[in-house]
Protein backbone atom coordinates (compact mmCIF):
# COMPACT_ATOMS: atom_id res chain seq x y z
CA UNK A 1 0.00 0.00 0.00
CA UNK A 2 1.12 3.54 -0.63
CA UNK A 3 -0.04 4.44 2.87
CA UNK A 4 3.12 5.42 4.69
CA UNK A 5 4.08 3.54 7.84
CA UNK A 6 3.40 5.74 10.88
CA UNK A 7 7.05 5.39 11.79
CA UNK A 8 9.94 3.14 10.85
CA UNK A 9 11.97 0.95 13.21
CA UNK A 10 15.21 2.14 11.64
CA UNK A 11 16.07 5.05 9.36
CA UNK A 12 18.76 3.64 7.12
CA UNK A 13 20.43 6.18 4.92
CA UNK A 14 23.60 7.77 3.63
CA UNK A 15 25.71 10.57 5.00
CA UNK A 16 27.54 12.29 2.15
CA UNK A 17 30.47 14.57 2.86
CA UNK A 18 30.64 17.34 0.27
CA UNK A 19 33.92 18.50 1.76
CA UNK A 20 35.87 15.46 0.65
CA UNK A 21 33.96 14.17 -2.40
CA UNK A 22 36.34 14.54 -5.32
CA UNK A 23 33.76 13.87 -8.03
CA UNK A 24 35.44 10.72 -9.33
CA UNK A 25 32.08 9.06 -10.21
CA UNK A 26 33.33 5.84 -8.58
CA UNK A 27 30.04 5.54 -6.66
CA UNK A 28 28.11 6.08 -9.90
CA UNK A 29 29.80 3.25 -11.75
CA UNK A 30 29.88 0.83 -8.83
CA UNK A 31 26.15 1.43 -8.27
CA UNK A 32 25.47 0.76 -11.93
CA UNK A 33 27.66 -2.34 -11.85
CA UNK A 34 26.07 -3.88 -8.74
CA UNK A 35 22.54 -3.14 -9.88
CA UNK A 36 23.06 -4.48 -13.40
CA UNK A 37 25.04 -7.66 -12.76
CA UNK A 38 23.33 -11.01 -12.16
CA UNK A 39 19.97 -9.32 -12.43
CA UNK A 40 16.98 -10.03 -14.70
CA UNK A 41 16.25 -6.32 -14.63
CA UNK A 42 19.52 -4.48 -15.27
CA UNK A 43 19.71 -0.69 -15.40
CA UNK A 44 19.13 -0.35 -19.14
CA UNK A 45 21.41 1.47 -21.53
CA UNK A 46 20.34 2.94 -24.84
CA UNK A 47 22.47 3.70 -27.87
CA UNK A 48 25.59 2.85 -25.84
CA UNK A 49 28.07 3.35 -28.68
CA UNK A 50 26.03 5.78 -30.76
CA UNK A 51 25.67 9.53 -31.08
CA UNK A 52 23.80 10.13 -27.85
CA UNK A 53 24.43 7.36 -25.35
CA UNK A 54 21.91 7.28 -22.51
CA UNK A 55 21.18 5.01 -19.63
CA UNK A 56 19.59 4.57 -16.24
CA UNK A 57 21.65 5.51 -13.21
CA UNK A 58 20.51 5.53 -9.59
CA UNK A 59 23.22 7.93 -8.59
CA UNK A 60 24.64 10.94 -10.44
CA UNK A 61 27.48 13.28 -9.49
CA UNK A 62 27.22 16.96 -10.43
CA UNK A 63 30.11 19.41 -10.28
CA UNK A 64 29.46 23.01 -9.25
CA UNK A 65 31.49 26.14 -8.69
CA UNK A 66 30.22 27.92 -5.60
CA UNK A 67 30.88 31.33 -4.11
CA UNK A 68 29.57 32.49 -0.75
CA UNK A 69 31.15 35.94 -1.03
CA UNK A 70 34.26 34.89 0.87
CA UNK A 71 35.44 31.76 -0.78
CA UNK A 72 34.89 30.36 -4.20
CA UNK A 73 35.31 26.62 -4.48
CA UNK A 74 34.42 23.51 -6.42
CA UNK A 75 31.75 21.29 -4.89
CA UNK A 76 31.05 17.79 -6.13
CA UNK A 77 27.51 16.76 -5.40
CA UNK A 78 26.39 13.11 -5.58
CA UNK A 79 22.61 12.89 -6.05
CA UNK A 80 20.54 9.79 -5.26
CA UNK A 81 17.37 8.81 -3.40
CA UNK A 82 17.22 10.30 0.09
CA UNK A 83 14.71 7.71 1.40
CA UNK A 84 12.43 10.46 2.72
CA UNK A 85 10.20 10.02 5.75
CA UNK A 86 7.39 11.70 3.79
CA UNK A 87 8.06 10.39 0.28
CA UNK A 88 5.43 11.78 -2.07
CA UNK A 89 6.77 9.49 -4.77
CA UNK A 90 5.14 6.74 -2.69
CA UNK A 91 1.83 8.42 -1.89
CA UNK A 92 1.15 9.49 -5.52
CA UNK A 93 1.73 5.94 -6.82
CA UNK A 94 -1.63 4.67 -8.09
CA UNK A 95 -0.75 0.98 -7.95
CA UNK A 96 1.06 0.50 -4.65
CA UNK A 97 4.24 -0.50 -6.52
CA UNK A 98 6.13 2.20 -4.61
CA UNK A 99 6.38 1.62 -0.91
CA UNK A 100 8.33 2.59 2.18
CA UNK A 101 9.46 -0.29 4.38
CA UNK A 102 8.39 -0.17 7.98
CA UNK A 103 11.42 -2.07 9.26
CA UNK A 104 14.21 0.12 7.87
CA UNK A 105 12.59 3.03 6.02
CA UNK A 106 13.97 2.06 2.60
CA UNK A 107 11.81 3.28 -0.32
CA UNK A 108 11.45 0.65 -3.03
CA UNK A 109 9.59 -0.02 -6.30
CA UNK A 110 8.03 -3.40 -7.00
CA UNK A 111 8.96 -4.10 -10.64
CA UNK A 112 6.11 -6.61 -10.93
CA UNK A 113 3.34 -4.08 -10.28
CA UNK A 114 4.79 -0.77 -11.53
CA UNK A 115 2.77 0.43 -14.55
CA UNK A 116 5.37 3.03 -15.60
CA UNK A 117 3.09 6.09 -15.28
CA UNK A 118 6.10 8.22 -14.20
CA UNK A 119 4.04 10.26 -11.73
CA UNK A 120 6.48 9.35 -8.91
CA UNK A 121 9.31 10.98 -10.83
CA UNK A 122 7.21 14.15 -11.08
CA UNK A 123 6.57 14.06 -7.33
CA UNK A 124 10.24 13.68 -6.36
CA UNK A 125 12.14 16.99 -5.96
CA UNK A 126 15.54 15.31 -5.99
CA UNK A 127 15.39 13.59 -9.38
CA UNK A 128 15.93 10.25 -7.67
CA UNK A 129 13.73 8.20 -9.99
CA UNK A 130 14.46 7.39 -13.61
CA UNK A 131 12.21 5.69 -16.12
CA UNK A 132 13.59 2.58 -17.80
CA UNK A 133 11.77 2.59 -21.12
CA UNK A 134 13.19 -0.77 -22.13
CA UNK A 135 11.45 -2.42 -19.18
CA UNK A 136 8.63 0.11 -18.85
CA UNK A 137 9.12 0.63 -15.12
CA UNK A 138 10.67 3.15 -12.74
CA UNK A 139 14.08 2.58 -11.22
CA UNK A 140 15.48 4.03 -8.03
CA UNK A 141 18.17 3.54 -5.38
CA UNK A 142 17.43 0.49 -3.22
CA UNK A 143 20.14 1.34 -0.69
CA UNK A 144 21.51 -1.98 -1.96
CA UNK A 145 18.87 -3.86 -0.02
CA UNK A 146 20.22 -7.01 -1.69
CA UNK A 147 23.68 -6.37 -0.19
CA UNK A 148 23.14 -4.94 3.27
CA UNK A 149 21.24 -8.01 4.54
CA UNK A 150 23.04 -10.54 2.35
CA UNK A 151 24.51 -13.19 4.63
CA UNK A 152 26.45 -14.75 1.79
CA UNK A 153 28.67 -11.67 1.83
CA UNK A 154 31.35 -10.97 4.39
CA UNK A 155 30.19 -8.73 7.20
CA UNK A 156 32.28 -5.78 5.93
CA UNK A 157 30.77 -6.08 2.45
CA UNK A 158 27.19 -5.64 3.69
CA UNK A 159 27.10 -2.01 2.73
CA UNK A 160 25.74 -0.17 -0.31
CA UNK A 161 28.02 -0.51 -3.35
CA UNK A 162 28.52 3.27 -3.59
CA UNK A 163 29.77 3.42 0.01
CA UNK A 164 32.25 0.59 -0.51
CA UNK A 165 33.55 2.11 -3.73
CA UNK A 166 34.18 5.63 -2.47
CA UNK A 167 37.97 6.13 -2.43
CA UNK A 168 37.79 9.14 -0.10
CA UNK A 169 35.17 7.73 2.32
CA UNK A 170 32.88 10.61 1.48
CA UNK A 171 29.90 8.28 1.85
CA UNK A 172 28.84 6.65 5.10
CA UNK A 173 25.97 4.23 5.59
CA UNK A 174 24.06 3.84 8.82
CA UNK A 175 20.93 4.18 10.92
CA UNK A 176 19.90 7.80 11.51
CA UNK A 177 17.32 6.76 14.11
CA UNK A 178 20.11 5.61 16.43
CA UNK A 179 21.73 8.70 17.98
CA UNK A 180 24.87 6.64 18.76
CA UNK A 181 25.46 5.55 15.14
CA UNK A 182 28.46 6.92 13.25
CA UNK A 183 26.24 8.72 10.78
CA UNK A 184 24.16 10.40 13.52
CA UNK A 185 27.21 11.50 15.51
CA UNK A 186 29.06 12.89 12.49
CA UNK A 187 25.94 14.55 11.12
CA UNK A 188 25.33 16.20 14.48
CA UNK A 189 28.96 17.36 14.76
CA UNK A 190 29.26 18.77 11.23
CA UNK A 191 25.75 20.18 10.83
CA UNK A 192 24.37 17.61 8.38
CA UNK A 193 21.86 19.19 5.99
CA UNK A 194 18.51 17.75 4.92
CA UNK A 195 18.22 18.96 1.30
CA UNK A 196 15.38 21.41 0.54
CA UNK A 197 13.89 20.69 3.94
CA UNK A 198 11.23 23.38 3.60
CA UNK A 199 9.48 21.35 0.89
CA UNK A 200 8.49 18.95 3.66
CA UNK A 201 9.60 15.53 2.39
CA UNK A 202 11.84 14.95 5.45
CA UNK A 203 14.77 13.27 3.71
CA UNK A 204 16.71 10.72 5.79
CA UNK A 205 20.06 11.14 3.97
CA UNK A 206 22.19 14.02 5.16
CA UNK A 207 24.83 16.08 3.36
CA UNK A 208 27.80 17.54 5.20
CA UNK A 209 28.50 20.98 3.72
CA UNK A 210 32.11 21.83 2.86
CA UNK A 211 34.02 22.84 6.00
CA UNK A 212 34.63 26.51 6.59
CA UNK A 213 38.11 27.20 5.30
CA UNK A 214 38.62 29.87 8.01
CA UNK A 215 39.20 32.64 5.54
CA UNK A 216 37.79 35.92 6.80
CA UNK A 217 36.93 38.63 4.30
CA UNK A 218 39.82 40.68 5.74
CA UNK A 219 42.17 37.78 5.12
CA UNK A 220 40.68 37.35 1.69
CA UNK A 221 41.31 40.96 0.64
CA UNK A 222 44.85 40.65 2.00
CA UNK A 223 45.31 37.53 -0.13
CA UNK A 224 43.94 39.33 -3.16
CA UNK A 225 46.28 42.25 -2.55
CA UNK A 226 49.21 39.85 -2.35
CA UNK A 227 48.15 38.19 -5.57
CA UNK A 228 47.88 41.59 -7.23
CA UNK A 229 51.39 42.50 -6.07
CA UNK A 230 52.65 39.21 -7.38
CA UNK A 231 51.14 39.70 -10.80
CA UNK A 232 52.55 43.25 -10.99
CA UNK A 233 56.05 41.83 -10.61
CA UNK A 234 58.07 41.51 -13.77
CA UNK A 235 61.15 39.33 -14.15
CA UNK A 236 63.96 41.31 -12.46
CA UNK A 237 66.09 41.45 -15.59
CA UNK A 238 63.28 42.16 -18.04
CA UNK A 239 64.64 45.63 -18.73
CA UNK A 240 68.19 44.55 -19.23
CA UNK A 241 69.45 45.47 -22.75
CA UNK A 242 71.55 42.35 -22.81
CA UNK A 243 68.48 40.18 -22.06
CA UNK A 244 66.54 41.91 -24.83
CA UNK A 245 69.39 41.27 -27.22
CA UNK A 246 69.55 37.58 -26.29
CA UNK A 247 65.82 37.32 -26.63
CA UNK A 248 65.99 38.91 -30.12
CA UNK A 249 68.85 36.64 -31.07
CA UNK A 250 66.98 33.61 -29.78
CA UNK A 251 63.96 34.47 -31.90
CA UNK A 252 66.04 35.06 -35.03
CA UNK A 253 68.03 31.87 -34.70
CA UNK A 254 65.14 29.58 -33.85
Amino acid sequence: MTDLPSGTDKKLGLLIDLDICVGCHGCVTSCKEWNSTDDDLPLSDFDSYGEAPDGIFLNRVHGYETDDGILSQTVHFPRSCLHCEQPECVTVCPTGASYKRQEDGIVLVNPETCIGCKLCSWACPYGAREYDHKQGIMKKCTLCVDRIYNEELEEEDRKPACVLACPTSARLFGDFSDPQSDVSILSEKRGGVALMDNLGYKPVNRYLPPRKKHITSEQNSKNNANLQKFSDLKPSNANSKLEEFFSWLDQKLS
Partner: protein, 320 residues
Amino acid sequence: MSPAYSIIFFTVFSGAGYGLLAIISLTTLTSLLPDSTLLNLIMLILSLLLISVGLLFSTTHLGHPERAWRAMSQWKTSWLSREGLLALITYVPALLLCVIWTAMLIQSFSSQSINELENYVALIGGVCGLCAISTVFCTGKIYASLKTIPAWNYFLTTPIFFLLSIVNGLLLWIFFNCVFSYKVNNFVVLFSVFMLGAAFLLKWVYWNFVDQVKFSVTKAEAIGLEKNTTVQNLEPAHQTQNYLMREMGYNVARKHALKLRWFASWAAFIIPGICLLVGVTDSSYMPITSFIALLCLIVGLIIERWLFFAEAKHVITLYY
Protein backbone atom coordinates in the same frame (compact mmCIF):
# COMPACT_ATOMS: atom_id res chain seq x y z
CA MET B 1 7.58 19.64 -18.02
CA SER B 2 7.53 17.73 -21.25
CA PRO B 3 4.16 18.11 -23.01
CA ALA B 4 3.31 14.45 -23.65
CA TYR B 5 0.71 14.22 -26.42
CA SER B 6 -0.96 11.23 -24.76
CA ILE B 7 -1.73 13.30 -21.67
CA ILE B 8 -2.73 16.42 -23.62
CA PHE B 9 -5.25 14.46 -25.70
CA PHE B 10 -6.43 12.51 -22.68
CA THR B 11 -7.14 15.61 -20.59
CA VAL B 12 -8.78 17.50 -23.48
CA PHE B 13 -10.94 14.64 -24.84
CA SER B 14 -11.88 13.09 -21.53
CA GLY B 15 -12.41 16.58 -20.14
CA ALA B 16 -14.83 17.28 -23.00
CA GLY B 17 -16.57 13.94 -22.46
CA TYR B 18 -16.99 14.43 -18.72
CA GLY B 19 -18.15 18.00 -19.31
CA LEU B 20 -20.83 16.85 -21.74
CA LEU B 21 -21.83 14.03 -19.41
CA ALA B 22 -22.11 16.50 -16.54
CA ILE B 23 -24.32 18.83 -18.62
CA ILE B 24 -26.56 15.98 -19.80
CA SER B 25 -26.85 14.78 -16.21
CA LEU B 26 -27.66 18.26 -14.94
CA THR B 27 -30.38 18.72 -17.55
CA THR B 28 -32.10 15.55 -16.31
CA LEU B 29 -32.63 17.43 -13.05
CA THR B 30 -34.15 20.45 -14.78
CA SER B 31 -36.70 21.39 -17.41
CA LEU B 32 -33.84 21.99 -19.87
CA LEU B 33 -33.71 18.27 -20.76
CA PRO B 34 -34.44 18.07 -24.50
CA ASP B 35 -37.71 16.26 -25.27
CA SER B 36 -35.96 14.03 -27.77
CA THR B 37 -34.78 10.86 -26.05
CA LEU B 38 -32.86 10.05 -29.23
CA LEU B 39 -30.86 13.29 -28.92
CA ASN B 40 -30.14 12.64 -25.25
CA LEU B 41 -29.03 9.10 -26.01
CA ILE B 42 -26.76 10.17 -28.88
CA MET B 43 -25.12 12.85 -26.73
CA LEU B 44 -24.69 10.38 -23.90
CA ILE B 45 -23.04 7.83 -26.17
CA LEU B 46 -20.81 10.53 -27.64
CA SER B 47 -19.70 11.64 -24.18
CA LEU B 48 -18.84 8.05 -23.28
CA LEU B 49 -16.92 7.69 -26.55
CA LEU B 50 -14.91 10.85 -25.85
CA ILE B 51 -14.17 9.64 -22.31
CA SER B 52 -13.16 6.18 -23.50
CA VAL B 53 -10.92 7.48 -26.30
CA GLY B 54 -9.27 9.85 -23.81
CA LEU B 55 -8.70 7.07 -21.29
CA LEU B 56 -7.20 4.88 -24.03
CA PHE B 57 -4.86 7.76 -24.98
CA SER B 58 -3.78 8.03 -21.35
CA THR B 59 -2.77 4.36 -21.22
CA THR B 60 -0.41 4.83 -24.20
CA HIS B 61 2.06 6.72 -22.02
CA LEU B 62 2.26 3.83 -19.55
CA GLY B 63 5.20 1.46 -19.60
CA HIS B 64 2.83 -1.42 -18.85
CA PRO B 65 -0.70 -0.59 -20.09
CA GLU B 66 -1.79 -4.19 -19.37
CA ARG B 67 -1.29 -3.50 -15.67
CA ALA B 68 -3.45 -0.34 -15.74
CA TRP B 69 -6.16 -2.03 -13.64
CA ARG B 70 -3.79 -1.93 -10.68
CA ALA B 71 -4.09 1.85 -10.69
CA MET B 72 -7.52 1.60 -9.01
CA SER B 73 -6.08 0.28 -5.76
CA GLN B 74 -4.43 3.25 -4.02
CA TRP B 75 -7.38 5.65 -3.75
CA LYS B 76 -6.49 6.32 -0.11
CA THR B 77 -3.42 8.39 -0.99
CA SER B 78 -3.17 8.89 -4.76
CA TRP B 79 -5.21 11.38 -6.80
CA LEU B 80 -4.28 9.45 -9.94
CA SER B 81 -5.78 6.32 -8.42
CA ARG B 82 -8.91 8.24 -7.35
CA GLU B 83 -9.25 9.61 -10.88
CA GLY B 84 -8.97 6.11 -12.37
CA LEU B 85 -11.46 4.65 -9.94
CA LEU B 86 -14.01 7.45 -10.41
CA ALA B 87 -13.56 7.23 -14.19
CA LEU B 88 -14.64 3.59 -13.99
CA ILE B 89 -17.46 4.21 -11.48
CA THR B 90 -18.88 6.94 -13.75
CA TYR B 91 -19.57 4.31 -16.41
CA VAL B 92 -22.15 2.63 -14.14
CA PRO B 93 -24.78 5.41 -13.91
CA ALA B 94 -23.94 6.56 -17.46
CA LEU B 95 -24.57 3.10 -18.91
CA LEU B 96 -27.74 2.78 -16.79
CA LEU B 97 -29.01 6.02 -18.36
CA CYS B 98 -28.09 4.59 -21.77
CA VAL B 99 -30.18 1.49 -21.05
CA ILE B 100 -33.17 3.48 -19.79
CA TRP B 101 -33.16 5.88 -22.73
CA THR B 102 -32.72 3.02 -25.21
CA ALA B 103 -35.67 1.22 -23.59
CA MET B 104 -37.76 4.38 -23.77
CA LEU B 105 -36.77 4.85 -27.39
CA ILE B 106 -37.65 1.39 -28.64
CA GLN B 107 -40.63 1.23 -26.29
CA SER B 108 -39.83 -2.27 -25.29
CA PHE B 109 -41.76 -1.83 -22.08
CA SER B 110 -45.35 -1.00 -21.40
CA SER B 111 -46.07 2.70 -21.08
CA GLN B 112 -46.60 2.27 -17.36
CA SER B 113 -43.14 0.86 -16.71
CA ILE B 114 -41.60 3.55 -18.92
CA ASN B 115 -43.21 6.15 -16.71
CA GLU B 116 -41.72 4.40 -13.72
CA LEU B 117 -38.30 4.38 -15.38
CA GLU B 118 -38.54 8.08 -16.12
CA ASN B 119 -38.80 8.70 -12.40
CA TYR B 120 -35.35 7.26 -11.97
CA VAL B 121 -33.74 9.32 -14.75
CA ALA B 122 -33.23 12.37 -12.55
CA LEU B 123 -31.79 10.31 -9.71
CA ILE B 124 -29.35 8.39 -11.92
CA GLY B 125 -28.56 11.58 -13.81
CA GLY B 126 -27.71 13.32 -10.54
CA VAL B 127 -25.33 10.54 -9.50
CA CYS B 128 -23.79 10.46 -12.98
CA GLY B 129 -23.18 14.23 -12.97
CA LEU B 130 -21.57 14.05 -9.56
CA CYS B 131 -19.23 11.24 -10.68
CA ALA B 132 -18.28 13.09 -13.89
CA ILE B 133 -17.51 16.32 -12.04
CA SER B 134 -15.54 14.48 -9.34
CA THR B 135 -13.40 12.73 -11.96
CA VAL B 136 -12.38 16.07 -13.50
CA PHE B 137 -11.73 17.42 -10.00
CA CYS B 138 -9.32 14.51 -9.38
CA THR B 139 -7.54 15.18 -12.71
CA GLY B 140 -6.92 18.74 -11.57
CA LYS B 141 -5.76 17.59 -8.15
CA ILE B 142 -3.14 15.24 -9.65
CA TYR B 143 -1.34 18.33 -10.96
CA ALA B 144 -2.28 20.80 -8.24
CA SER B 145 -0.96 18.56 -5.45
CA LEU B 146 2.62 18.37 -6.80
CA LYS B 147 4.74 20.66 -4.63
CA THR B 148 7.69 19.99 -6.94
CA ILE B 149 6.05 22.06 -9.71
CA PRO B 150 5.08 25.44 -8.24
CA ALA B 151 3.28 26.52 -11.45
CA TRP B 152 0.75 23.72 -10.87
CA ASN B 153 0.70 23.79 -7.08
CA TYR B 154 -1.74 26.71 -7.22
CA PHE B 155 -5.32 27.08 -6.02
CA LEU B 156 -6.63 27.89 -9.53
CA THR B 157 -5.25 24.78 -11.26
CA THR B 158 -8.18 22.53 -10.31
CA PRO B 159 -10.96 25.14 -10.84
CA ILE B 160 -9.57 25.87 -14.33
CA PHE B 161 -9.54 22.17 -15.28
CA PHE B 162 -13.10 21.95 -14.01
CA LEU B 163 -14.29 25.11 -15.77
CA LEU B 164 -12.73 24.19 -19.14
CA SER B 165 -14.33 20.77 -18.99
CA ILE B 166 -17.77 22.27 -18.29
CA VAL B 167 -17.34 24.87 -21.06
CA ASN B 168 -16.41 22.13 -23.51
CA GLY B 169 -19.45 20.12 -22.42
CA LEU B 170 -21.76 23.11 -22.84
CA LEU B 171 -20.54 23.85 -26.38
CA LEU B 172 -20.92 20.19 -27.38
CA TRP B 173 -24.43 20.18 -25.92
CA ILE B 174 -25.44 23.37 -27.72
CA PHE B 175 -24.00 22.12 -31.02
CA PHE B 176 -25.85 18.77 -30.86
CA ASN B 177 -29.10 20.47 -29.95
CA CYS B 178 -28.68 22.66 -33.04
CA VAL B 179 -27.86 19.66 -35.24
CA PHE B 180 -31.15 18.09 -34.18
CA SER B 181 -32.84 21.46 -34.83
CA TYR B 182 -33.76 21.99 -31.24
CA LYS B 183 -33.96 25.59 -30.23
CA VAL B 184 -31.38 26.10 -27.49
CA ASN B 185 -32.63 28.10 -24.57
CA ASN B 186 -30.92 31.52 -24.60
CA PHE B 187 -30.26 31.10 -20.90
CA VAL B 188 -27.95 28.13 -21.64
CA VAL B 189 -26.11 30.07 -24.36
CA LEU B 190 -25.61 33.14 -22.19
CA PHE B 191 -24.53 30.93 -19.29
CA SER B 192 -21.94 29.36 -21.63
CA VAL B 193 -20.67 32.81 -22.64
CA PHE B 194 -20.40 33.69 -18.96
CA MET B 195 -18.44 30.47 -18.27
CA LEU B 196 -16.14 31.17 -21.25
CA GLY B 197 -15.51 34.64 -19.82
CA ALA B 198 -14.79 33.21 -16.37
CA ALA B 199 -12.40 30.60 -17.82
CA PHE B 200 -10.66 33.30 -19.89
CA LEU B 201 -10.19 35.48 -16.82
CA LEU B 202 -8.96 32.69 -14.56
CA LYS B 203 -6.59 31.42 -17.24
CA TRP B 204 -4.92 34.83 -17.50
CA VAL B 205 -4.71 35.09 -13.72
CA TYR B 206 -3.03 31.66 -13.86
CA TRP B 207 -0.62 32.74 -16.63
CA ASN B 208 0.23 35.85 -14.70
CA PHE B 209 0.99 33.63 -11.69
CA VAL B 210 3.20 31.36 -13.83
CA ASP B 211 5.25 34.41 -14.87
CA GLN B 212 5.81 35.42 -11.25
CA VAL B 213 6.23 32.08 -9.54
CA LYS B 214 9.64 31.12 -8.24
CA PHE B 215 10.97 28.03 -6.53
CA SER B 216 10.82 28.26 -2.75
CA VAL B 217 14.39 26.91 -2.66
CA THR B 218 17.60 28.11 -4.29
CA LYS B 219 20.13 26.14 -6.29
CA ALA B 220 22.44 26.40 -3.26
CA GLU B 221 19.85 24.88 -0.93
CA ALA B 222 19.26 22.09 -3.44
CA ILE B 223 22.85 20.95 -2.89
CA GLY B 224 22.95 21.59 0.85
CA LEU B 225 24.73 24.95 0.92
CA GLU B 226 23.63 28.19 2.51
CA LYS B 227 20.75 29.94 0.78
CA ASN B 228 22.62 32.85 -0.77
CA THR B 229 25.68 31.04 -2.04
CA THR B 230 26.00 31.46 -5.78
CA VAL B 231 26.22 28.14 -7.57
CA GLN B 232 27.27 27.69 -11.18
CA ASN B 233 27.36 24.50 -13.19
CA LEU B 234 30.90 23.28 -13.68
CA GLU B 235 30.96 19.59 -14.60
CA PRO B 236 27.75 18.01 -15.88
CA ALA B 237 26.70 14.72 -14.26
CA HIS B 238 26.34 13.21 -17.73
CA GLN B 239 27.24 14.34 -21.21
CA THR B 240 23.99 13.64 -23.04
CA GLN B 241 20.38 14.27 -22.09
CA ASN B 242 18.85 11.79 -19.70
CA TYR B 243 15.28 10.92 -18.69
CA LEU B 244 15.12 13.68 -16.08
CA MET B 245 16.16 16.40 -18.51
CA ARG B 246 13.78 15.22 -21.23
CA GLU B 247 10.81 14.73 -18.90
CA MET B 248 11.29 17.55 -16.43
CA GLY B 249 13.61 19.97 -18.21
CA TYR B 250 11.31 21.01 -21.07
CA ASN B 251 11.00 24.75 -21.22
CA VAL B 252 9.28 26.91 -23.79
CA ALA B 253 10.77 30.34 -24.56
CA ARG B 254 8.73 33.13 -22.97
CA LYS B 255 8.37 34.96 -26.27
CA HIS B 256 6.72 31.95 -27.91
CA ALA B 257 4.66 31.26 -24.81
CA LEU B 258 3.09 34.71 -24.98
CA LYS B 259 2.17 34.24 -28.66
CA LEU B 260 0.66 30.85 -27.90
CA ARG B 261 -1.28 32.25 -24.94
CA TRP B 262 -2.95 34.77 -27.21
CA PHE B 263 -3.58 32.13 -29.85
CA ALA B 264 -5.20 29.91 -27.20
CA SER B 265 -7.17 32.87 -25.84
CA TRP B 266 -8.67 33.73 -29.23
CA ALA B 267 -9.34 30.13 -30.18
CA ALA B 268 -10.66 28.85 -26.85
CA PHE B 269 -12.43 31.86 -25.41
CA ILE B 270 -12.86 34.96 -27.57
CA ILE B 271 -14.01 33.43 -30.89
CA PRO B 272 -16.39 30.91 -29.27
CA GLY B 273 -17.81 33.72 -27.11
CA ILE B 274 -18.47 35.92 -30.14
CA CYS B 275 -19.93 32.98 -32.09
CA LEU B 276 -22.39 32.19 -29.32
CA LEU B 277 -23.44 35.83 -28.97
CA VAL B 278 -24.09 36.00 -32.74
CA GLY B 279 -26.21 32.87 -32.34
CA VAL B 280 -28.21 34.51 -29.56
CA THR B 281 -29.04 37.56 -31.69
CA ASP B 282 -30.18 35.43 -34.62
CA SER B 283 -30.83 31.78 -33.82
CA SER B 284 -30.78 30.83 -37.51
CA TYR B 285 -26.98 31.24 -37.38
CA MET B 286 -26.68 29.02 -34.34
CA PRO B 287 -25.97 25.67 -36.10
CA ILE B 288 -22.97 27.12 -37.95
CA THR B 289 -21.71 29.44 -35.20
CA SER B 290 -21.93 26.72 -32.53
CA PHE B 291 -19.93 24.43 -34.82
CA ILE B 292 -17.20 27.07 -35.32
CA ALA B 293 -17.22 27.78 -31.59
CA LEU B 294 -16.75 24.10 -30.76
CA LEU B 295 -13.98 23.57 -33.30
CA CYS B 296 -12.05 26.66 -32.15
CA LEU B 297 -12.49 25.70 -28.51
CA ILE B 298 -10.97 22.26 -29.01
CA VAL B 299 -7.98 23.63 -30.94
CA GLY B 300 -7.57 26.34 -28.29
CA LEU B 301 -7.72 23.84 -25.44
CA ILE B 302 -5.06 21.63 -27.03
CA ILE B 303 -2.74 24.67 -27.20
CA GLU B 304 -3.73 25.67 -23.65
CA ARG B 305 -2.95 22.18 -22.37
CA TRP B 306 0.38 22.09 -24.24
CA LEU B 307 1.34 25.37 -22.55
CA PHE B 308 0.18 24.05 -19.19
CA PHE B 309 2.91 21.42 -19.42
CA ALA B 310 5.58 23.28 -21.36
CA GLU B 311 5.55 26.35 -19.09
CA ALA B 312 5.66 24.42 -15.81
CA LYS B 313 9.12 24.19 -14.29
CA HIS B 314 10.11 21.29 -12.07
CA VAL B 315 12.32 21.88 -9.05
CA ILE B 316 14.88 19.29 -10.22
CA THR B 317 15.90 21.71 -12.98
CA LEU B 318 17.87 23.43 -10.18
CA TYR B 319 20.42 20.63 -10.42
CA TYR B 320 20.94 21.15 -14.15
